[in-house]
Symmetry: C2
Subunit: 669 residues, 2 copies
C-alpha cells in the first residue's frame, strides 16, 4: 500500500484510471510495445515469432539474470526514505528515468500529476492515570533521531485533539463492538484502542469507531514490527485516488475540487487516529479498568485478566498535520511491438515508499529495472515483441519473505503456471518455482483486494491482471525497518528471490507479447465462475434462485470451449505471417479474448462505490465478506437486503456474464 | 416515433442498447458484413478493393435502382395497420424475413424480445355545457368503421376517469402556464386542452400539466392531419425502451420488474391523456368562458376572441387501456466482410407502425428491402465489402415529402455530401441531390434528438451516426391516413424519392464498408466543437470560464490534423493488400477513428437521465434547450445551477474531449 496517488517505475502507472468511458480507459491503459512507424527501420528479426526461436528467446532472457544488478538497484532506491511528494522521492524519479533512458528503449517519458498529499507536523499522546501520574508517550517509536523517516502517522487523519477514557476494542470489527455491548460497554465519548488484525484495514477500523461515537482511535500491532518496535504508517482516506479529483485523473491543471466540497470532505475521517507502538499500547492495556475482555478475544498477548475499560486512564491525543498539493510522477518506458501497434502488455509497480521501501515497493521496482535491462539485451539481439495481448502484470512487494504467491484473473492461471515451470526455485536449485508452488500453497488468489496497484486496471478498466509476491507477509510493513538492511538480513540475502520474481515477471511479459494467439484460458474462467456461483447459492440457502446466473455461466462455458478450439486451429496457421486473412482472424480472436474481461464491467458500478465497475471481482462493502467475488451480490446478501434487491444484483451479474460471452463469441447478436 | 420497443427491418435493430459496459454495447451493436470463415469459399473478387473498380461498383449499385420494386414492397408492408405486438405486425416480420432469406445473404436471423406494450380498450369524452346540453364526442375520428386501425390514443396513459372544467393552455409549455398565472388562471383540478406545437412532444405536455395539478390532458393538432381529420397517436411514456426492463435489453426470459416497482411506475404519467380531433377541440374552445387568451398566443386558429376558461363547460374523460407483455422481433441480415471480420456498418429502420405506416416507418423499410435486393446483385458479381467502419445509418421516415434532410455526427459530414454528389435529384433530373441540398437547406443537423432509432446507437453506445429523410415533416403523422394511398397521392407518386434515398443510403453503406481507410473527417468535428463552445460561452455571458473546454478542443483539433495527414499517407499504400504491416497500421488507424466518438461517452451519463452517456450530443432536460449540444452543460445553465455545478459540467465535457483526442491519437498517454 502507499499514499493514494503514487508514482510508478517502469512500464505502467499507479493511478486508478479516470471514471469515464471504458473505451477511454482502454485507450489510456494500453501501454508499451508500440509499433515502429517505419518498419524498414526494424532490425533483423533473429527472434521474430515466425521463426521458432521463442524458446531460445526465453532461455536467453533467463540467462541474463543477475542478482548483483538487482541488489544494486534496490540499494540505490532505498538509500533514503522517499515518501511521495518529498525531495528524496523526486531523486528516485531521476534514478529510474535515467536508468530507462540509458537503455535506449523506444520511448521513455514522465507523466506528471498533482495530488493532495498528507504529512504530520506535530503529534502527541498523553496518558493520565488514576494515581494522577501523567505519561507523555514517545511516538517516534521506530525512528532514530538521526534518521529522516517520517514520524508514524495516519495520512489524511484530521488535525485536532481528542481526550477521553480508553476502551479496548480488540480488532475493532463490528462483532467486537457487539461483544462490548453485551457486557454493557459503550465507546461513545471515549478513545478506542484497537489491535491490528487480519481482516480490517486501518481505514475501516477508524470508520467503524467513528460510527460508534468514539472521539479518537489508537491502533497498535502485536507483531511489534517484527519485534523491532516498528510502527505501521498508512492512509485512512476513504476510496482511492487523489482526494480532490474524485474519479478522474489528478493531472496537473485538471479539475480540482475544493476541500469543503462534500465529494472531498466525505473521504476523510471525522475523528483523529494514530498508530501506537506495542510498548505504548501495553502501558494503556495494563492500566485499563472496567469489565474483563470477552473470552473470544483471548489470543496473542490478550490474556484472561485483560480489562476493556473505560476508566482508570484518560488519554489526550493531539495531532497536527498538513495537506499539500504535490507534484508526483510516473515513468513510462515503452518497447514497440512489430506487428500490433495498439496492443499492450503492462508491467507495473509503484515507486514511492512510506519509509525506505526495501520491500514495499522497491523490491518490485528493482526487479522491474532489471527486467528493463534484460529486455534491452533482447532488443539488441534483434527481438521485437508482437504485442498481441492486453494484460496488466502487477508486482508491488516483490519479496517479503519465502514462498511464491500469486493472484490472477482466471484466464491467466495457466500461462502463469507455465511461466513458473521455466524458472528455478530460488530456495531449492533442484526444483522449479512451479514444483514448490504446487507442493506449498498451490492456490491462485482472486483479485478482489484493492490494496495494490492492479485495482484500477482490473476493477475499473477490466484488464486481465496478475499480481505476484514472494512471502505471505512481513513484520516491518510500513515501518522504519523496511530497509535494505532488513531485506538482506531477513527476506533475500542473495537476491535469488528477486531474480526469480524478475524471471517470472519478465517471462510473462514476453509470452503475452509474443504468442500470436493469446494464451488466455476461458474454460478455466468458466470453471471459476461455477465455483463462485456455488458459493453464492450456498450463502443464499435456497432463499433466492441463482438459475439466471447458472444459465449464463453455462453459456459462457460453451462459448469458452468453442473459442478454445478456434484458438487451437489458428495457432497452427499462426506463423504464416504473410497471410493477411490469417492475421486478421488472429487479431479478431485476440480482440475477443481481450474484450471478454471488459464484459464484466457495468457502467453503473458497485452500489455505493460506483467507481468500481467489475461485477465479478471487486471490493465488497462488508470487510468480512464471505464471498470474495460478485461484490454487488455479496453486499446485497450481507446487508440483509430485500429479496428483490438480491435478485436484481444476481441479474446484473448474469447480464455481465452474458456480455462477456457475447464479447468472446464475437459477431452480431 | 413508435412504441418504445419496436422491431426492425433489415440490417440493424430498434432497441436501445442495454445500460452496461460500453464494450458490450459495441459488441452487441456491431452488425453485418461479417467475414467468411472459409476464405477459399470467397468468390473471385471482381470488385475487391485492391482492384480500382470501386467507382464501377458504385455505378452498378445505382444502376440497379427500381421504383417498381420499392413501391411493391411498400404496398405489401402497408396493406394492413401493423401496430407493434399485433398479428399484422407479425405478418410484416414474415414478409421481411422471407425477403432477406430469399436473397441468400450470409446470415439472416430473428432476434426476439418481450416488452410491455399498451393498447386502448374503451375511451370516451363527454362535454356538459352551461345550457345543460351534453355532447358525447366521436373519438374514432380518422378511423372508418370498416378499418382495423387502432382508435386514437396515448400509449401508457393510465386508465381511469377525470372530470373537471377545461382550461386552454396553448402549447402547454412552462411559459404558457406562466402567462395563465399572470391573468390569474390556475389549471389545478381542471382538464387542460393543448394544441400540439413545434417544441414539445406529447409526453412533455402531459408531464408539465401533471406538475401544474391538472386532472387530465386533451391534445389536438391544428394541422387536422392534413385537413383530413387525422388524429395523432403516440406514446406518453417517460424514457425509452421496455418499461419493465429499464436500461437493459428486454429479451425473452430476461429480468422483468413488476409494475409496482418504482423504476417502472415512475415512467408512466399519473393523469390520463387523449388526442382529440381539431373538430372536437374547437367545440370545446368555442364554449370556453373566463379571461381572454394572452396576446402572444394569437396564431393559427387562435384568435383575439379566444377565452381560456375555466367555466361554461365541464368535461368527463374516461379511458380504459390494457398493458400486455408481447413478443416483438428484429430481423437482422448480414453480409460478411472479406477482410475485417469484426467491423460493421449498420443500416437500420424500424418496422412496426401506429397505423398503416406508409411514411413512418415503411418508406424506410421498403428502401432498405430494395438495398438488400441490390446488395445481393453486387454479391453475385463477386463483390464483398471490406467492412472497416463502424457506423450506424438510420432512416426512419424515408419519404415524408420533398427536399432532402439529414443529420450526422460531424466526422461523417463529408462522406455524406460525397454520396449526395453521386445521386440524381428525384425532382430535377438535371441536378444531383447534393446540388439541390446545397441550394435549399444545406444544413446538416446534429443528432441530439431522441425521437428516432439512432438514439441508442449514438447517445448510449457512441457510434458515429447518420439520420436521413425526405420532406421536413408531413401532416398525417401517426394518423390513420399514413397509408400507401396517401404516399402516392402526396409524397412520392413515382417513388423517385424512395429510389434516391435508397441510393444515398446504400452508397454510404458501400463506401463506409469498402474504403480501406475510414473516410472520417475529425477536422470537421473539431470545427463543430468550436462552434458549440462559442454557443456555450455566449449563453454564459462570461459568468463562468470555458477555458478548459477551449484548450481541450484546440488539442483535439491538432490531433485531428495529424490523423488526417496520417490517413492520407496510408491511403496511398492502402491497396497493397499483401502487406501485413500496412494492413495492421490501417486497422489500427481505423480503430482509433472509430473509437474517438466513444471517447465522448461518460459512464456517469447525463444527470437525471444516466442512460444517455454521450456528453456532446443528447437530450437536454429543458425541452426548449437553447444549445442543442453538451446536454449536461445545457441542463446546468438552463436550470440556473450554481457556478460550481456549471464548472463541473464544463470539466466533464472537457475530459470527454480529451478522451476523444487520446483515442484518436492512440498509443500510451
Amino acid at each position: 500500500m502507499s499514499q493514494p496517488l503514487t508514482t510508478v517505475a517502469g512500464i505502467s502507472f499507479r493511478h486508478p484510471p479516470p471514471l469515464c468511458s471504458f473505451l477511454f480507459v482502454i485507450v489510456l491503459l494500453v501501454a508499451t510495445f508500440y509499433t515502429l512507424h517505419h518498419p524498414d527501420a526494424t532490425p533483423p528479426h533473429l527472434f521474430s515469432p515466425n521463426t521458432h526461436n521463442s524458446l531460445t528467446l526465453r532461455r536467453l532472457f533467463l540467462s541474463s539474470a543477475s542478482n548483483a544488478t538487482v541488489s544494486s538497484y534496490l540499494h540505490s532506491l532505498t538509500r533514503h526514505p522517499h515518501l511521495a511528494g518529498t525531495k528524496p522521492s523526486l531523486d528516485t524519479l531521476t534514478y529510474v528515468l535515467t536508468h530507462f533512458q540509458s537503455l535506449r528503449l523506444d520511448d521513455t517519458r514522465v507523466a506528471e500529476y498533482e495530488a493532495l498529499l498528507s504529512y504530520p507536523t506535530h503529534i502527541s499522546v498523553t496518558a493520565r492515570f488514576t494515581n494522577s501520574t501523567t505519561v507523555e508517550f514517545d511516538l517516534n517509536g521506530d525512528v532514530s533521531s538521526s534518521s529522516d523517516v517520517v514520524t508514524p502517522y495516519h495520512a489524511y487523519s484530521p488535525s485536532g485533539s481528542a481526550q477521553g477514557s480508553v476502551v479496548f476494542v480488540n480488532r475493532g470489527e463490528e462483532r467486537d463492538y457487539r461483544a462490548l455491548e453485551m457486557i454493557g460497554v459503550s465507546v461513545r465519548g471515549c478513545l478506542v484502542l484497537a489491535r491490528k488484525g487480519e481482516t480490517l484495514g486501518r481505514g475501516v477500523i477508524v470508520k467503524i469507531a467513528e460510527t460508534k461515537g468514539a472521539l479518537g482511535v489508537l491502533i497498535y500491532d502485536e507483531n511489534d514490527g517484527g519485534g523491532l518496535g516498528g510502527i505501521e504508517r498508512g492512509t485512512v482516506m476513504r476510496g482511492i485516488g487523489d482526494p480532490v479529483s474524485p474519479g478522474w485523473p489528478g493531472v496537473t491543471g485538471g479539475e480540482k475540487l475544493s476541500l469543503d466540497d462534500d465529494r472531498v470532505s466525505r473521504r476523510f475521517p471525522k475523528i483523529p487516529s494514530l498508530p501506537l507502538s506495542l510498548h505504548n499500547a501495553e502501558i494503556l492495556l495494563a492500566s485499563l479498568g472496567g469489565a474483563r475482555a470477552p473470552v473470544e478475544w483471548r489470543s496473542g498477548r490478550v490474556g484472561s485478566s485483560q480489562r476493556v475499560g473505560p476508566g482508570r486512564v484518560v488519554v489526550n491525543m493531539t495531532l497536527q498535520g498538513e495537506m499539500k498539493m504535490k507534484k508526483i510522477h510516473n515513468v513510462v518506458a515503452t518497447i514497440r511491438g512489430s506487428e500490433e501497434p495498439d496492443r499492450f502488455v503492462i508491467l507495473g509497480n509503484h515507486r514511492d515508499a512510506w519509509t525506505y521501501g526495501a520491500v514495499d515497493p522497491n523490491s518490485g521496482t528493482s526487479a522491474l529495472l532489471d527486467i528493463g535491462r534484460r529486455f534491452a539485451l533482447l532488443l539488441e539481439s534483434g527481438w521485437r515483441p508482437r504485442a498481441s495481448a492486453v494484460a496488466y502484470l502487477n508486482v508491488d512487494c516483490a519479496v517479503q519473505g519465502s514462498g511464491f504467491f500469486a493472484g490472477a484473473t482466471p484466464q491467466l492461471d495457466n500461462v502463469l503456471v507455465d511461466a513458473l515451470k521455466l524458472v528455478q526455485d530460488p530456495d531449492d536449485v533442484t526444483l522449479t518455482v512451479e514444483e514448490t508452488f504446487k507442493s506449498q500453497n498451490n492456490i491462485i488468489e482472486r483479485l478482489s483486494r484493492v490494496d495494490s496497484d492492479f485495482s484500477g486496471f482490473l476493477h475499473h478498466a477490466g484488464i486481465p491482471s496478475i499480481d505476484m509476491y514472494y512471502g505471505a507477509d512481513y513484520p516491518v510493513y510500513h515501518t522504519a525497518f523496511d530497509s535494505y538492511d532488513w531485506m538482506i538480513r531477513n527476506a533475500d540475502p542473495l537476491f535469488h528471490r528477486h531474480v526469480a520474481m524478475a524471471g517470472i515477471w519478465g517471462l510473462l511479459g514476453i509470452i503475452l507479447a509474443d504468442e500470436p494467439v493469446l494464451p488466455f484460458d476461458y474454460i478455466a474462467y468458466a470453471e471459476q465462475l461455477q465455483a463462485h456461483r456455488d458459493a453464492v447459492s450456498k450463502l443464499l440457502e435456497g432463499k433466492v434462485s441463482v438459475d439466471p446466473l447458472s444459465a449464463a455461466i453455462q453459456e459462457f462455458s460453451l462459448v469458452a470451449k468453442e473459442v478454445t478450439d478456434e484458438a487451437k486451429k489458428l495457432k497452427e496457421q499462426a506463423y504464416s505471417k504473410k497471410d493477411v486473412a490469417v492475421a486478421a482472424k488472429r487479431r479478431e480472436l485476440n480482440d475477443r479474448m481481450m474484450l471478454a474481461e471488459r464484459g464484466f464491467l457495468d457502467s453503473e458500478g458497485i452500489k455505493g462505490k460506483e467507481w468500481f465497475k467489475h461485477l465479478v471481482y471487486g471490493p465488497a462493502a462488508e470487510p468480512e465478506s464471505k464471498l470474495g467475488c460478485f461484490p454487488g451480490i455479496a453486499d446485497a446478501i450481507e446487508t440483509n437486503s430485500s429479496e428483490g434487491i438480491i435478485k436484481h444484483e444476481i441479474w446484473r451479474v448474469t447480464r455481465a456474464i452474458q456480455r462477456a460471452s457475447k464479447a468472446l463469441k464475437g459477431g452480431f447478436t
